[in-house]
Symmetry: C2
Subunit: 412 residues, 2 copies
Amino acid sequence: MGLIVKKFGGSSVGTTEKILNVAKRILAEKQPEDQIVMVVSAMGDTTDDLISLAKQIDEEPYRYEREMDMLLTTGEQVSIALLTMAFRSLGQKAISLTGAQAGMHTNSVHTKGKIVDIQPKRVVDELKAGNIVIVAGFQGADEFGDPVTLGRGGSDTSAVALAGALKADSCEIYTDVDGIYSADPRVEPDARRMKEITYDEMLEMARLGAGVMQPRSVEMGKHFNIPIHVRSTFTTKPGTFIREAYTMEEKDFVIRGVAHDEKVVKIAILGIPNNPGIAHQIFSTLASAHIVVDMIVQSIRNIEKNITDMVFTIAADDLVKARPIVDQVANNLNAIAVLVEDNVAKVSIVGVGMLGNPGIAARMFGALASADINIDVISTSEISISCLVKSSSIKQAVNAIHREFFPVKEQK
Amino acid sequence: MGLIVKKFGGSSVGTTEKILNVAKRILAEKQPEDQIVMVVSAMGDTTDDLISLAKQIDEEPYRYEREMDMLLTTGEQVSIALLTMAFRSLGQKAISLTGAQAGMHTNSVHTKGKIVDIQPKRVVDELKAGNIVIVAGFQGADEFGDPVTLGRGGSDTSAVALAGALKADSCEIYTDVDGIYSADPRVEPDARRMKEITYDEMLEMARLGAGVMQPRSVEMGKHFNIPIHVRSTFTTKPGTFIREAYTMEEKDFVIRGVAHDEKVVKIAILGIPNNPGIAHQIFSTLASAHIVVDMIVQSIRNIEKNITDMVFTIAADDLVKARPIVDQVANNLNAIAVLVEDNVAKVSIVGVGMLGNPGIAARMFGALASADINIDVISTSEISISCLVKSSSIKQAVNAIHREFFPVKEQK
């Protein structure tokens, strides 16, 4: 017996046929005593269709953020009604609730709202009445009762937060992959599905480029200490549990995974005075433009003249915004030049196992060296090590590192 | 300066282009001091599209009434968001509100709810803030906060009730005709658009077959004493005001209009004992099956044997349900026969002017006689007279009566 929150994304409920299949699957797996809350997204392309309607009214509809939320929250309202009908047509008591009805209180930052409080009394009451409760994901209501959407990955966040507020036994995220892999399976054919990963590792993996889970939902899971089970919509086998610490012995692997990110740009400001406050001057300017700077290396160009080079990476999407700011700062500092390289990519290893395990970095660098891959920049966090390499060699880099830490078992 | 509630139906907001046109029109007509509340329906075919989605889940989706309301209320939510965006893109402050947000409290009779109370505080606040307020028609929320739709003609009822609660100066119903006519213009080419009609006359016209306004919305207007202005979406000229009493001198016409109804069936139970309680026995049985009986005539077949015939009309749609009930009652009464005639139609005149104007009925009968039309059954109410005629002569009947009461002016 358990209280389980199950989240299904838009592709899982993309057609009425899929909606019926989801309902059948849930009923097939349900134990008699289970209490089930479903959190669902809008059907397939519904959100895009609604946005294109809005664009016919005004080319920039997101200027009307409150109205976009009024518009877009209908998408989930349609899918919760249909999924509830599907359960009822199969003889299962069920009821749909909008985000607002489920007690998802948000701030008023329309189109990218944050959950500030959850009062799930109605959900609890409906569960007690024997219902499967189907809640609209991605949405809540603010203090004025206005519908607010949660922004990217919002459905995952809704589900995990609701699971937390309900003190659920677990939160299952159904997706088009069957778990979290030790590397992107499209890049690394030998990538292994992990049985478990910690919240911190998952957050670090996401930060470093692994796309399965949105960081906010993982943070929410960590905050409420709710195990998150990432699993496939299309199979019934278990996926990956994201939780506080491992419950199983998985000592074989000192790292959890290899992440990579190709949407990276390296910027070098060359020949600037190595004075106190220089780094602050550069990076505070970028920070005030909401540009996140990732890897930072300061190297000495000329020790006698006390001249240095400042090298850092940013997300490729931020380059247009960052370039004039960097040029202005470089000019102020009488820099020799600003170099921008976009043919770079970042490969990282993540794992709590590297704490107190000093040989890990050396093994990573060695794997890259054996594959004849040059390392441009290195940065480390408590549970990760990242190397910047040429983007043309990123696949080999992932493969070489993965082989080092996850040796392929002999096939008989 | 005035507070005006304007209601636009689904065909008026059927496309994004039409939505933009509605917004432009409203702004062109708006006086600077006007406060405007719009009540809008779902775009064109949206409701039908949603119903067909639901039918893909279950062939009889209306079994899940609460979920149908959850589903269908999204239709208006989309149109209010888009219309609000249209106003804002034209530089006008505007805000959308769902039925629940506008304070439309309903009972819990899902898919055919009734408004039990309106608390339009949010509407008032948003008007004060300088907004045009766009409210979702056809919907409200019950005591549990669940969305409830109002059933047929619900958007008109929403608009008039909201106008009443707001103590609006008038309620304008925009539709695809430009007002209330003295007869159906498809039948009577000389039908005149009326400048005014009373609530009671409009209710009687609707009851007797005129289809423009739903009776519930007219009752609501009468209850709140809100003038209802029925006018065209496509022109700016005034239409017809429905109000308590005439404000203009329109003494020319003693009646307001000629209504007709072709969906009528005549039933005759022949040769039954003329005892006290016979009429009660017949009509209470039909009433308990929710069949409305309209014209009733009891005539003597044989005065010596005290045997009578009972003749009455019902809506053609009710015949399938009524037939076995009538046969059973006739059998119990040892009736000679039951005759059903479906080639009949009802023509009626309506007008408060006929009160204390005894010549009106004679003029109606005379007009029919001159056109060589036989009257089968006659019935009267305080402000109407109805005649049952052969359905093949209904058009001539309407024309003859209309010509009598609304003589065509000489063309020069």
